[in-house]
């Protein structure tokens, strides 16, 4: 009876899925236009997920020697119920969609499906690695080796399937990026844990007082498992032309690793300064944060160096995302840490509680955030203006941060006014204590919002000036490709066809031409050696 409920439920769901496939097939027969196929791929991801976890549960219940009492009837029944419905559903959907992939080669559903499976089962695999390592170092526990085989097998099978039918188009890089992201996060966590243990042991052996983390089996195992996975997914060559997904991945990871490194470096410097200025307790206790901070700095620094090199020097989407991301993080840190520093500096202390160490840490954080913001904001301001003000990353930074800081300033001003009006309406007393945070937050956030708003206005005016002017581009080539669709709507594109085949415009050349024309009336000459652009006289 125990299996009846889940079985009925799964049968109903399976029936609905089968009905969906049938309807989809009829639709395909009526119009063979392809489409996204997103729903069938999502259903297949769901079915593969249920089937995969059911197999893992079945194998665990049957093969892992960790049972201490009773028979695993419930687990077996639950796993079987899941498999009975999800297994055939996954198989049929796989066959059906494999046929469709042969007809519609550029279907984005396939890479989206591969990405979902990769993020779910690669994460499950790393969790299983951690549990396995934990069990190996604990004599009482039985290693759950079956999870490793099932989850690892599912990931490996999908890598094999991907290698047979590589996904194309922009979204085709998504599975590799997802695998790289899951692996690099696991690798970083494992490496930080391992180094932290190592440095704590070393610090303790030198006479320092520190809480040494438990045995490094789990972080070490995660490092050893994630390193080859990351190398496999990230290090092989990518297509030369970057996609928006890869730019986003690179910019986010580079910015995040620099934030981690900076945070760790600030801690190291602040602890040293507080020691030098005599704000410390016993020497052996004072540097207790160093093992962890140094681990974060080393791992974050290594990740930053690698990903920063991958971005290169060209001012593409990844570079902009990284610089504007860092400017945003710097500005947010500057506002937050400044307000906290003001609050702590003016906080009346009744007794004890020397805040010198915290003040030094906050002071260092304010300086580091301010430097980061100043450095990256100066970098983006040095970039060519006409191209920069059109960049999505800049608009997101300016508008997003202006709205956030503006709303923060408005909210804190309301809080400050409540205090003021309460005092004016007779609820007297010293209001300086209650006003300290709202007032400082209003001023600091307001200044940031004003700075951002002025740039939003300047950019808007410059954009209107350049966009409002129509221009004409005359292109001499043998095959123009899709170049006319890449120009803004103000452009009038005229193509003069060459008689020979020496002037073909491919996708990358089209981007380069549009970029070089830059909204001015131009004459473009394309031949076997590339292209040349000359400004045309305005008529």
């Amino acid at each position: 009876m125990i299996v009846l409920g889940p079985l009925l439920f799964l049968l109903v769901v399976g029936g609905l899925i089968a009905l969906g496939i049938r309807t989809w097939r009829q639709r395909e027969e009526s119009g063979r236009e392809g489409g996204l196929d997103l729903i069938p791929y999502l259903l297949m991801a769901l079915a593969v997920g249920v089937a995969g976890f059911s197999i893992a549960r079945l194998a665990r219940a049957s093969l892992t020697p960790d049972r201490i009492a009773g028979r695993p009837i419930g687990e077996l029944a639950g796993a079987l119920a899941g498999l009975v419905v999800a297994g055939p559903t996954a198989y049929l959907l796989w066959q059906f969609l494999a046929k469709r992939r042969k007809t519609f080669l550029r279907n984005p559903g396939w890479p989206i499906y591969l990405s979902i499976v990769e993020v779910v089962f690669l994460t499950a695999f790393f969790v299983a690695v951690g549990q396995f390592a934990d069990a190996l170092t604990d004599s009482a526990l039985a290693p759950r080796w079956t999870d490793l085989i099932v989850y690892g097998g599912i990931v490996a099978f999908h890598w094999w399937a991907e290698s047979r039918e590589p996904a194309t188009e922009v979204v085709g890089e998504l599975p590799r990026l997802v695998g790289s992201a899951v692996s690099v996060v696991t690798l970083a966590a494992g490496a930080i844990g391992t180094l932290s243990w190592l440095f704590s042991e070393a610090y303790e052996s030198l006479g320092g007082a520190v809480t040494v983390p438990p045995e490094p089996a789990i972080p070490l195992a995660l490092t050893l498992a994630a390193a080859p996975m990351w190398a496999w997914r990230w290090l092989p060559a990518w297509e030369e032309k970057s996609t928006p997904f890869r730019s986003l991945y690179l910019s986010f990871l580079t910015a995040l690793s620099l934030i981690v490194t900076t945070g760790a470096a600030v801690t190291i410097v602040a602890v040293l300064l507080s020691f030098l200025f005599g704000q410390a307790g016993p020497t052996e206790d004072h540097f207790g944060t160093y093992p962890t901070a140094i681990s974060f700095a080393l791992v974050g620094g290594a990740l930053w160096i690698h990903h920063r090199r991958r971005i290169g020097v060209a001012r593409g989407g990844a570079m902009r995302g990284y610089q504007y991301g860092m400017a945003a993080a710097g500005l947010a840190g500057l506002v937050g840490f400044t307000v906290t520093l003001i609050d702590l500096a003016f906080e009346p202390r009744l007794a004890g509680g020397d805040t010198g160490e915290a003040l030094i840490l906050l002071g260092c954080s304010v300086i580091a955030s301010g430097l980061a913001w100043f450095w990256f904001w100066r970098k983006v301001e040095e970039a060519p203006r006409a191209e920069e003000i059109r960049a999505l990353q800049r608009r997101m930074y300016l508008l997003g941060m202006a709205v956030t800081t503006g709303l923060t300033a408005a909210g804190s001003l309301i809080a400050a006014l409540v205090v003021v009006f309460r005092a004016l309406l007779g609820e007297g007393g010293d209001i300086s204590e209650s006003l300290r945070i709202p007032l400082s937050l209003t001023v600091v956030s307001g200044l940031a919002a004003w700075h951002l708003y002025t740039h939003v206005r300047t950019d808007g005016a410059a954009l209107r000036k350049t966009e409002a002017r129509p221009f004409t581009v005359t292109i001499v080539c043998s095959h123009p490709g899709q170049i006319s669709t890449l120009f803004p709507k103000e452009a009038t594109v005229r193509v003069l066809y060459r008689a020979d085949d020496a002037g073909v415009i491919d996708e990358s050349m089209a981007d380069a031409i549009v970029s070089e024309v830059g909204g001015r009336s131009s004459l473009v000459w394309v031949d076997g050696g590339g292209f040349r652009v000359a400004a045309a006289r305005e008529t």
Binding site: M1, I2, L4, G5, P6, L8, F9, I55, L58, A59, A61, S62, L63, T64, P65, D66, R67, I68, A69, G70, R71, P72, I73, G74, E75, L76, A77, G78, L80, L83, G87, P88, Y91, Q95, D134, D138, A140, L141, A142, R164
Partner: protein, 147 residues
């Protein structure tokens, strides 16, 4: 390029089916692991085994005589029908914590399975490990007043 030497498409489901049936048969016929009864995990194994078998007298003999103790040897809901696996063991020579994962079949046919973790605190008394203040499976406890 598609490989011509592909296996027939029906072979994968058949292999899968055989694997599943084999796993189920292994799971049904496999006995629980055997832990040393003189260890915390072994004590918990014997204790839970006695409860599952309905041998409440034997289970009660594993209770420590300190802190809160059950007012009756019989749990409030009778013998639990569960399967239990080990999650973690830690402690020292005097006290230990054993965490187990309990899978309980719901009596409601649509209810499926209920899985939860239970913590057993054990104390070393008179040369053997005893379960301190048993909270599973649903005993009413009486506590000595502190003076």
């Amino acid at each position: 390029m598609v490989d011509d030497r592909r296996m027939p498409s029906w072979l994968w489901p058949v292999i899968g089916l055989i694997a599943v049936v084999t796993l189920v048969l292994i799971g049904l016929n496999r006995e629980p692991a055997e832990f040393d009864p003189n260890t915390p995990e072994g004590t918990v194994q014997v204790y839970i085994g006695a409860l599952v078998d309905g041998d409440f007298e034997t289970a009660a003999s594993y209770w420590a005589d300190e802190g809160c103790t059950p007012i009756s040897n019989i749990p409030t809901r009778g013998a639990p029908q569960v399967s239990v696996s080990l999650v973690s063991v830690d402690g020292n020579d005097v006290q230990a914590n054993v965490v187990v994962r309990i899978t309980e079949n719901s009596e409601d046919p649509l209810g499926g399975l209920v899985e939860y973790q239970e913590w057993f605190t054990l104390t070393h008394q008179d040369g053997s490990w005893k379960v301190r203040q048993p909270s599973w499976p649903y005993y009413d406890l009486a506590c000595e007043e502190q003076t």
